[in-house]
């Protein structure tokens, strides 16, 4: 029988719903045994979601623990022979997956956004360029796949209806890893190039740029700005998108009141989805957008935020 393993991010100590959904997509309708590896996390929380949950002790939660975790997963792979190993596409996952793939001689497929199974094969869809080109990848016959998932793409549709067995395994060589964490501080100046979502203000927003922050927070993103606002001293240069600012590649770029000079557009080539909110639907940037909202950007931001909050409140009732 085919087997799939999901690995919880150690800092979060839980298997997220997107990993469960990706495992479900990988299994398809064929018989498939699902496993989770939990390194010093809450294994009991997974009861019903997977067939087997394996707990291993972890020597840490950061990069210093990765070599030991790779050895633990490799030992588990030797025992069970997984066809696919799934993990989050976070920085942690992107450090773990290549080492693991090298260790067990697996196909490494990063930042997957879709998994489809047919009778003959499993196919993985992933982005392969900053321009948004997508590739369909499949593994060579018999090769296991080590897969990281693009964040927030898979959403769970399964139910906790399985009988879960719980196993404990020894950790594989903690000791001195040769990397010691000396200090960890919050990153107070997050870089807009790291953002998955940018709500970006242009001349149409002007001095009301701060009013976009609640929407950016609700979307898990950051506020950025066009050169026009930086030149007027309204926004700091570190959040400027453009050829004289920063080139960005977010999943969502919301251009709020931005006309779209060529220098601005050039820095957006990697944006996956663009929504323009502008009183002028013929602004140059609108022609590149997936969606154009015609109207006042700040008022629309407030209305959309209200809708998001209403939905969230309804979901928690």
């Amino acid at each position: 029988m085919r087997r799939v393993l999901v690995i919880a991010e150690q800092a979060e100590a839980r298997v997220t719903p997107d990993l469960l959904e990706a495992a479900r997509c990988f299994a398809g309708d064929a018989p498939c045994e699902s496993f989770a590896l939990v390194a010093s996390g809450d294994a009991a929380a997974l009861s019903g979601w997977l067939d087997t949950v394996v707990s291993v002790p972890a020597p840490g939660t950061g990069v210093e623990a990765i070599p030991a975790l790779v050895r633990s997963v490799a030992a588990l792979h030797r025992e069970f022979g997984f066809a696919c190993i799934l993990m989050p596409g976070s920085q942690w996952g992107s450090m773990l997956a290549p080492r693991l793939a090298a260790r067990i001689e697996a196909a490494l497929i990063p930042e997957v956004r879709e998994i489809t199974r047919s009778e003959q094969s499993v196919r993985f869809l992933r982005r392969v360029s900053r321009n948004g080109d997508l590739a369909v990848i499949e593994t060579v016959e018999g090769a296991p796949a080590v897969v990281t998932l693009q964040p927030r793409v898979f959403s769970s549709s399964g139910k906790p209806d399985r009988t879960t067995r719980f196993l404990d395994r020894e950790g594989q060589g903690a000791g001195n890893s040769g990397i010691r964490l000396l200090r960890k501080t919050e990153n107070t100046e997050q870089d807009i190039r790291d953002a998955d979502v940018l709500v970006s203000a242009g001349a149409g927003v002007g001095r009301r740029i701060d009013e976009l922050k609640p929407l950016a927070d609700a979307l898990g993103g950051q506020v950025s700005a066009s050169r026009s606002l930086v030149n007027q001293g309204i926004a700091p240069r570190r959040i400027q998108v453009g050829q004289s600012g920063k080139t960005v590649a977010p999943r969502l770029y919301m251009a709020m009141g931005i006309h779209g000079a060529s220098q601005h557009v050039a820095a957006l080539a990697g944006a996956e989805t663009i929504i323009c909110v502008n009183t002028n639907a013929k602004a140059p940037l609108c022609s590149l957008a997936d969606m154009v909202v015609v109207g006042d950007a700040v008022a629309f931001a407030q209305d959309l935020l209200r809708k998001i909050k209403e939905e969230q409140e309804n979901a928690t009732d």
Partner: protein, 262 residues
């Protein structure tokens, strides 16, 4: 102190054949990734302050890269090793890591310097895979290195992700993955240096030196393959236009949910 920088010049984009649709990364224009350039820039900065430092730069390339290698030698690298063989074309990152690991077998090093990201913006896969093969540590996303504490036995560095800045002490040998945000830059050769003959510092390696069997490298050794490529073409896309009213809010909200953003 012996530093080895590893780099693989990147294509200036990905295009696709119409039939069959397969990615073409082998474009004529290739360049050094800014992160890789930072890694080499950092090594040369250490050498500038400590001239006894040996800096070797190892370039894995499918393209003619002699001009690039000469420029790197002219700005201070002791040796530039070009690994080039058509047999290696189409290799996946693990095979490339194996090629570099074999090229490093005969070379002593205290620290290997590399970039952190790919041209697509994801995390680079080759350095961590090389670290696994060499059984050494790998620390990527480095935004600063404490130069005074950098020695043949270890370093103190700061890494950055979206939420946290972490300060680590790392023992060597290890692979350090620099980010272009570290501020280190690969200098341009000075005008008077541009014609200096540096050929004695360029070493070319190919499969006669590395001795891989044909089935061990290239597409034949890859454990995955690209079935199709869907090229994005934003220019041809007609945007959906809505008004900024209740229906527009509803539509955008639905669109964000559909895209998995909400």
């Amino acid at each position: 102190m012996k530093l080895v920088c590893i780099t693989k010049p990147v294509p200036d984009g990905v295009s696709s054949d119409q039939e069959p649709q397969v990615p073409i990364r082998d474009t004529p224009a290739a360049r050094l990734h800014p992160d890789d350039a930072s890694a080499i820039g950092f090594a040369l900065e250490i050498k500038r302050h400590r001239p006894e430092t040996q800096v070797d730069v190892l370039i894995l390339t499918e393209k003619p890269a002699t001009a690039l290698a000469e420029d790197i030698a002219r700005v201070g690298a002791n040796r530039v090793i070009l690994i080039k063989n058509t047999l290696y074309q189409g290799s996946d990152s693990l095979t490339e890591a194996r090629i570099i690991a074999r090229a490093l077998e005969a070379r002593a090093y205290d620290c290997i310097l590399a970039g952190s990201q790919t041209v697509e913006g994801g995390a680079a896969c080759l350095p961590p895979q090389l670290a696994e093969l060499l059984e050494i540590n790998h620390l990527p996303f480095i935004r600063s290195v404490e130069e005074a504490a950098f020695s043949a036995t270890g370093a103190v560095v700061e890494t950055e992700d979206g939420a946290f800045v972490r300060r680590y002490a790392v023992d060597f040998p290890a692979i350090l993955g620099l980010s272009e945000r570290s501020g280190y830059r690969l200098p341009y050769p000075r005008l008077k240096e541009q014609r200096r003959d540096v050929s004695e510092r360029i070493v070319a390696l190919d499969n006669r030196d590395l001795k891989f069997a044909p089935e061990e490298v290239g597409a034949a050794a890859a454990s995955s393959r690209t079935v199709t490529l869907h090229a994005a073409n934003r220019q041809d896309r007609a945007p959906e236009i809505v008004d900024a009213d209740a229906m527009g809010v509803e539509r955008v909200h639905g669109f964000l949910k559909q895209r998995g953003i909400l």
